[in-house]
Subunit: 373 residues, 2 copies
């Protein structure tokens, strides 16, 4: 496929896909000629329905998608456990470790909630998918592992392409065999869950491995049009982005986190299992240090237990950090890729899209005029 | 600068720089229109003189360069220690650990040499530089840290540009302030010493940080023309490569290592301090596992002690692995980047250059024809 064929297939002007948990970003990117994708996993089915209805009202038929994380493996999968039953699987020693960590940072133990995250608990995926499919979505994505059969079947039935994120060529081959319609090949520089291979190496490896079976979007570290152009030079059909939208005007990122991101260089992120139990890239902080895989770091729990332990605490930390609590500021972290080093200013999402296009064109021009005569 | 200005400045047809310890590769790349750079650090001054004389005889005035590693910091620096005195600083416990590791792999202790590497011992840099400067080299590079003043001064005096490798934008700014003429910005996917930032993020960061003060070559994971084209789209003036030459017909890479590389995917490398004491990317093996930074790994020594401990042993391991020794095969490793996943065939170095050009042109064409109308 080519970028223009991809644009035609998805009904867009520019093959820039934007993943965001914020409906305003999704709508802004879609309305600017790109393709917004709502990260749906943190919502309840009712909330998701509201968010998608709002998007429908704001994009006037322009295309957008939804991303639901349905991990292939997670603790208690298939056992139909209640959240309380799952929470009981978190060892007391882990809770004690978190309490001590908070206490060392001057955070009162009684203020730390013990439970309550719906993030990555796995079993809500099918319900969320049903809600999403009741809206005119033009893409459904699964950000972790091979999409479950029900997702691929639902996509087939409704004519909605199914995308999957991969961090290794072997995974891309598996995903294509499972029937996905679009591969997002995501390098280690990406925010959130990622593998170890960099985007510059992964894209040509994946493209070679799947040999044109489905289109490939490049992801990982892409926050500018020149990086998107580089990805197309590598053979990708477009780009999948996430981090760059976190510092847009529309994003609901915690204010102190936005400040941390604007000040961060590319060396201020780390691939850590401390948030979800699987390696994901985020801002380095005292939280990620505490769960580091070195001799002094604490081991982590499997999906979704680590999230159930960490998310409520990290939300409390964010709230305290926004109030200026010094210990909370040291602990606060959020998913973001190495591209954070190039994110230095808060901008409207629409401007980010326009800058991407301009920068992409300049990069294409630069490469074109570099040709040996 | 532009790629064509860089080509004019260095007298080359195509801005592909090839680092190799093998004079045949250096000459082949230079003769094919690129720019060969001989890795000089492993040679004695007499050997280096012979190698460069051979190159002079084979490139007929075409441009080439030399790379000398002069680390800014190393154990015993300035103390004018003999190699024996330096070797005395290697704790017995470390030698015992290596002996046990070899023994676990069925390698006789008495066959393991204890000493003898000249690699990275630091103090020979100035002598090697004098030898190189007596030849018509067109570039002198320092692959680790800021080049010493004597290197920058010698370059100025003789009109030979000085290049420095960096893995972070802050280092690029320092290098430019120190007076280097060319920055090689090398991503974490690179073979050998590398930082943590990926090429796709590092190149735009470095270019922005030094703001056109000197040209920038992209390095790290680049083993194909499309990746080189991507680097130029990112704003680089050309590419610096190393790994891709290790599996050329001319290279002197150990045969079993060539086989490992041809079979490796991009996930078969690791950034390990187990070889030199500083993190460098290489094939993952039982040797790199033994020195991994996790709870079970052994700590490493500073430069140049870790090399003095490891290099003689690893050479012995290579020799045994080439004889088919199973334990030695498990231990054997060599510097190589993640691009190894795209290296699947032994080819003449000249063919690699020609394929780079062809693939570069195709990538530029692909990007050019992707432009939104």
């Amino acid at each position: 496929m080519t970028t223009s064929a991809l644009c035609e297939r998805f009904g867009i002007d520019f093959p820039l896909f934007a993943f965001s948990h914020c409906r305003d970003v999704v709508a802004a990117v879609t309305n600017a000629g790109g393709f917004g994708v709502l990260g749906a996993t943190a919502f309840s089915p009712e909330q998701l329905d509201q968010e998608l209805t709002w998007i429908d009202d704001h994009v006037h038929g322009k295309p957008y998608g939804a991303d639901i994380i349905v991990p292939a493996k997670f603790e208690g999968k298939g056992a139909n456990l209640s959240r309380t039953q799952l929470a009981d699987r978190i060892p007391d020693e882990y809770r004690g470790f978190v309490d001590r960590l908070l206490s060392e940072h001057g955070i009162e133990l009684e203020s730390a909630p013990r439970l309550g995250s719906t993030f990555l608990t796995g079993d809500t995926g099918e319900e969320l998918l049903d809600v999403a499919m009741a809206h005119p979505i033009k893409l459904i994505a699964n950000a972790l592992g091979v999409p479950p059969d029900y997702m691929i079947e639902a996509g087939r039935e409704r004519g909605v392409p199914v995308a999957a994120l991969v961090g290794a060529k072997e995974h891309a081959v598996k995903q294509v065999a499972a029937g996905v319609d679009l591969i997002v090949a995501q390098g280690t520089e990406a925010g959130g869950h990622c593998g170890e291979v960099t985007t510059l190496v992964l894209i040509p490896e994946v493209i070679q491995a799947i040999d044109g079976a489905v289109p490939v979007l490049a992801a990982g570290g892409i926050v500018t049009g020149r990086q998107m152009a580089a990805s197309v030079a590598l053979g990708a059909d477009g780009a999948w982005t996430g981090s760059v939208w976190l510092t847009t005007e529309e994003a609901e990122t915690a204010p102190h986190t936005v400040q941390k991101m604007l000040a961060a260089t590319s060396r201020d992120t780390v691939r850590s299992a401390g948030r979800t139990g699987k390696p994901s890239r985020q801002l380095v902080s005292d939280w990620t240090d505490a769960w580091a895989p070195h001799a002094d770091g604490h081991p982590t729990l499997p999906l979704p237990l680590q999230s159930m332990l960490s998310e409520p605490v990290l939300r409390r930390i964010d709230a305290l950090a926004d109030q200026g609590h010094p210990g909370a500021k040291e602990l606060a972290t959020y998913f973001v890729g190495q591209g954070v080093g190039l994110m230095t200013k808060v901008k409207p999402a629409r401007h980010v899209v326009l800058e991407f296009i301009e920068d992409y064109l300049a990069a294409a021009q630069r490469l074109g005029s570099s040709l040996p005569e």
